[in-house]
């Protein structure tokens, strides 16, 4: 049994001008100790997916359906009280903007210790000791002194490390990281990615990383889910995805990113564009969600939504025109 199984998750929101189908039938699973990246552009539903797993969707205006099985238990069916026990203990989350997710009036040592006291019943002294230990683990120099400081006294990279320390304090089985490096500078981003890779080996938590940055995906992920307009359009092990993307959207995405070092090879061709814009999620989309921007779309795409099919071993894509491996070989 996988650690987390998201099964046909739908999260919709009521808005003044119609129902927004932010996530519409997304399924994936995460094994123990595995890193899964969910990648997509803004509005594709990747963050809403993460929030749905944490049960952080306000209801109303939002509502989730489907199943989210964590160690076999459907999180959507748990009471808020039971969910509170899981949040921060079995599953924890780090956010893009560390400043807004840290309490500005609490010393960081206290903040890390808080969840330890709550979930693991440590007393204050033990919790503070463990907090210092966690700060050390995430590579903060002089952890003892830093534990006594307030969030605003730390730099952006430092705060993200504190967030990670906080998230890992209770040794969660699953860590959800929503754009953990997007707000950071490149050199700091490199530090944090390095830290996450290192911790993955040491702590053994499964990681669900939400990002728009294919570079980050390539660096940390084992498997990748590509989302577009609230649906999963492709899923594959990271090497297969980059080597042979099977959905036109994924191909477009990969082509649209300039590669560092391209000038050295003397080719500065135009970037591949994906024409047009993401469709509105407030009207029900008939057919393939990407049909409106797809260079290969035909009538059948606009009429019938393609199902997710295993095109190659462990490589799933939702496209009528992407051949299955054995067919391609034949």
């Amino acid at each position: 049994m996988a650690l987390l199984e998201v099964d046909r998750l739908q999260t919709h929101f009521r808005t003044p001008d119609g129902v927004n189908r932010a996530v519409d039938g997304v399924s994936f699973s995460i094994e123990k100790g595995e890193t899964l990246a969910v990648v997509g552009e803004s509005g594709c539903g990747k963050s809403v997916t993460a929030m749905s797993i944490m049960r952080l969707i306000a209801e109303p205006p939002g509502k989730s359906a489907g199943e989210i099985r964590f160690e076999g238990r459907d999180l959507l069916k748990l009471s808020e009280k039971e969910m509170k026990k899981i949040r921060g203990d079995d599953i924890s989350m780090i956010f893009q903007e560390p400043m807004t997710s840290l309490n500005p009036v609490l010393k960081v040592g206290r903040q890390i210790g808080e969840s330890l006291r709550l979930h693991q019943g440590l007393d204050r002294g033990q919790a503070e000791d463990k907090a210092v230990e966690m700060l050390q683990l995430v590579g903060i120099p002089e952890p003892k002194r830093r534990a006594g400081e307030y969030p605003h006294q730390l730099s952006g990279g430092m705060r993200q490390r504190v967030m990670i320390a906080m998230a890992l304090a209770c040794s969660p089985k699953l860590l959800i990281a929503d754009e953990p490096t997007t707000a950071l500078d490149v050199t700091i981003q490199a530090q944090i990615l390095d830290l996450m890779r290192d911790l993955k080996d040491r702590v053994g938590a499964a990681i669900l990383i939400i990002t728009h940055d294919l570079g980050v995906v390539a660096e940390v992920a084992d498997r990748v889910v590509v989302m577009y307009a609230g649906r999963k359009v492709e899923e594959a092990p990271v090497r297969d995805l980059f080597a042979k993307p099977r959905h036109p959207y994924t191909r477009g995405l990969l082509g649209a990113v300039p590669k560092l070092g391209s000038s050295l090879e003397g080719k500065t061709e135009k970037l591949a564009e994906i024409p047009g814009i993401v469709p509105s999620l407030k009207t029900k989309i008939e057919g393939c969600v990407f049909a409106g921007r797809c260079p290969e779309a035909e009538d059948v795409c606009r009429e019938f939504a393609p199902a997710l099919e295993e095109k190659a071993p462990r490589h799933v894509a939702a496209c009528h025109f992407s051949p299955r491996e054995q067919e391609a070989a034949a």
């Binding site: 552009e41 490149v186 560092l260 391209s262 135009k270 564009e273």
Partner: protein
């Protein structure tokens, strides 16, 4: 020989910050501290660096949205840094700007038509109504938006479309130079590619010079002719694209390039990890400003500030290591090609 389009000499932007109860005791943020570069007609110079390095401040000083506290900004042979705003106004036409945030860069209460007509009318670029509307239509064509969109409000457009409107507004003044302040950073990958291509096409078509301020090195490499790498208000290294990306001669450039995550799971990662964070520009380190994070730091770096020196034709770097020859200079051993 004609003068370069833009010449910046020893530009300084020191912002006072209130110290003491009544603001008597002034400290300064040394946001930009002695910067010199030039931009030729039709070329793209990129300013790269991490947040707080002062790259946006340079852009604002060139646009004269800020008055420099020192140094010179020379536009097509005329000093504009000390001009009064009245004298400056007609000259502003030559330098326009595209900002990062497509949402706050358009006034929500002004229709596209009026937003684009504003610079045309201000600089008297259209003789009559007919010419104005011809120019407006042409602008929309140039940035790839339908002409009917002129009558719409900003909120009716997506982020990428708004950025196109922002570019059209910059083009409306018929400028020689456009400052792109993180102009594509806030956009989604697929839209980013659209805007990058648009900027390149426009540059070729109109012979525009671009000052491309960005932290995204991959985009910069794709767009630019020359690059200036900034660190804490100073230029660490400046040179052509090939020079900077193939043979960086400053440890900061080297580290920056190695830090970029590559969208390729098979790429080998020989990353130069920088320690710690960027120091505060209020109290910059002595000597070389990079010495607190530099992997190759030695005694001289802590006391003596390196000056920009030509290391090859058109390539300058501010690093003491470049006074050494190959075996002792880690920057020269094994290029990063």
């Amino acid at each position: 020989m004609t003068a370069p389009l833009l010449e910046v000499n020893d530009l300084k932007m020191h912002f006072p910050i209130g110290g003491g109860l009544f603001g008597k005791l002034h400290k300064f943020v040394y946001a930009v501290d002695g910067l010199s570069f030039r931009v030729e007609r039709g070329e793209t110079l990129s300013l790269v660096g991490e947040s707080g390095c002062g790259k946006s401040t340079v852009g604002r000083a060139i646009l004269r949205l800020l008055k420099p506290t020192g140094g010179q900004v020379v536009l097509a042979g005329r000093r504009i840094d000390d001009m009064s705003s009245g004298v400056l106004r007609p000259i502003r036409r030559r330098v326009q700007v595209v900002f990062q945030d497509p949402f706050s860069s358009l006034n929500p209460r002004i229709r596209v038509r009026d937003a684009l007509a504003e610079p045309i009318n201000n600089f008297g670029l259209a003789k009559d109504k007919a010419e104005l509307s011809r120019k407006l239509n042409m602008l929309m064509d140039k940035v790839g938006l339908p002409r009917e969109a002129l009558g719409r409000w900003p909120h009716e457009f997506s982020g990428g479309q708004r950025q196109r409107i922002g570019i059209a507004r910059a083009l409306a003044a018929e400028p020689d130079l456009i400052v792109c302040d993180e102009a594509v950073s806030a956009l989604d990958v697929s839209v980013k590619a659209q805007i990058v291509n648009l900027l390149q096409e426009l540059q070729q078509e109109l012979g525009l010079a671009l000052l491309f301020i960005s932290h995204d090195l991959a985009i910069v490499e794709h767009m630019t002719h020359r690059v200036a790498v900034m660190y804490l208000g100073k230029i660490a290294e400046i040179g052509t694209k090939r020079q900077i990306f193939a043979r960086p001669r400053h440890p900061y450039t080297e580290a920056l390039l190695s830090a970029v995550p590559k969208p390729d799971p098979l790429a080998k990662r020989d990353r130069i990890m920088l320690k710690g964070d960027v120091p505060s520009p209020i109290n910059p380190p002595s000597g070389c400003r990079f010495h607190t994070r530099c992997p190759y730091v030695f005694d001289r770096c802590r006391t003596e500030e390196p000056r920009l020196k030509e290391v090859e034709r058109g390539h300058e770097a501010a690093c003491h290591l470049n006074d050494r020859t190959a075996p002792e200079n880690p920057l020269l051993s094994g290029g990063r090609a």
